[in-house]
Symmetry: C2
Subunit: 198 residues, 2 copies
């Protein structure tokens, strides 16, 4: 039996993005964001929603750049901290013992300790009530070499990405592999039924 | 050592959304989408990106409504199928043995077999290259009663949401709990340092 719980953010999973920016003085900062995700394949774009009062919002607008460092199991406590204090008064990299590295293609820093980082230039800004949705065009992605499989694909189990469960308010790690995309559903295809060219 | 892999969608995790719509004849359809996520808290909005050529895109525009049924471990093969064939020529609910139920507050169907469903009215439409980002305002969320904890919170482990890992092209289940949000990061706070009112 389904029960209505009203307008609650029961959306699982959400990512745990560390949004990296430089402020007007060049200080590197990160902010944790779970409201976001890929929003276009070509150009490849990622959306991240940030409240306009956040220190990060100003920095994205001024530098037209941000990075996303994926939070992983190994840095999940650091990621949580980066969501509960403001870079306006704290140097989060220093407090957390994390290292800021300048991105190659955009004017923003990323977190060296994250195994997957995404460099974005600001593509579009959408006002949505209390949040501003910043859409970044991906300029480059970098991954720790040891997180690649022999055939050059990302090894998701080694990366060990963290995820967030809103309303429950809990972080989770990666579970078992459930199968291959664009593949495990084929058992429902009728004989002679091809795939659609989607 | 970090290695550049160019413009690839190495974003983990992404969700596995079953986007439910009625077509112009009232036929219920679902499409699987991993490009999406929460994009605003107030009004509570969810973004989902769909290519304009998709059957679902037309349906969202005409009915100004869609639902999101979360794909879970129990229906991951069905979710994969719903991403590789088009509702233009197949009745996916019938092929998959899933049941379509009319949403209460919007003009769209949801998947009864999913334990968490989200009813959305179309709030904004953003053109982003090859994708259209449909932003839905959440009108209601429904959850299977047995998936709630004693204190009325969603039991994430019972829900057992699926996630997708792009580029690797693999689905994963939920892993171990890594801790409580807005809490596990407090160990990095200096003595007497309060939280910011973010």
């Amino acid at each position: 039996m389904k029960k209505s719980v009203g307008k609650q953010a029961l959306v699982y999973p959400t990512p745990v993005f560390l949004v990296g920016t430089y402020d007007e003085h060049g200080k590197a900062n990160i902010m944790t964001a779970a409201w976001g995700g890929i929003c276009s394949s070509e150009p490849l774009c990622i959306a991240v929603s940030v409240r306009p009062v956040r220190y990060t919002a100003d920095a994205i607008i001024k530098r037209k750049s941000f990075t996303i460092s994926l939070a992983t199991k190994s840095i999940i406590k650091q990621a949580d901290y980066a969501g509960i204090v403001s870079g306006r008064r704290v140097d989060k990299f220093s407090e957390l013992g994390l290292h800021a590295e300048r991105a190659e293609f955009v004017d923003a820093p990323f977190v060296q300790e994250s195994p997957v980082i995404i460099e974005c230039s600001l593509y579009k800004t959408i006002e949505l009530g209390v949040h501003t949705q910043f859409i970044g065009e991906v300029q480059d992605v970098k991954i720790n070499e040891e997180m690649l499989t022999a055939d050059g694909k990302p090894d998701i189990e080694k990366i060990s990405p963290a995820m967030f469960a809103p309303v429950a308010g809990l972080y989770y790690g990666l579970g078992e592999c459930l199968g291959k995309g664009f593949s495990i559903g084929k058992e429902f295809l009728k004989k002679d039924q091809g795939l659609d060219n989607l």
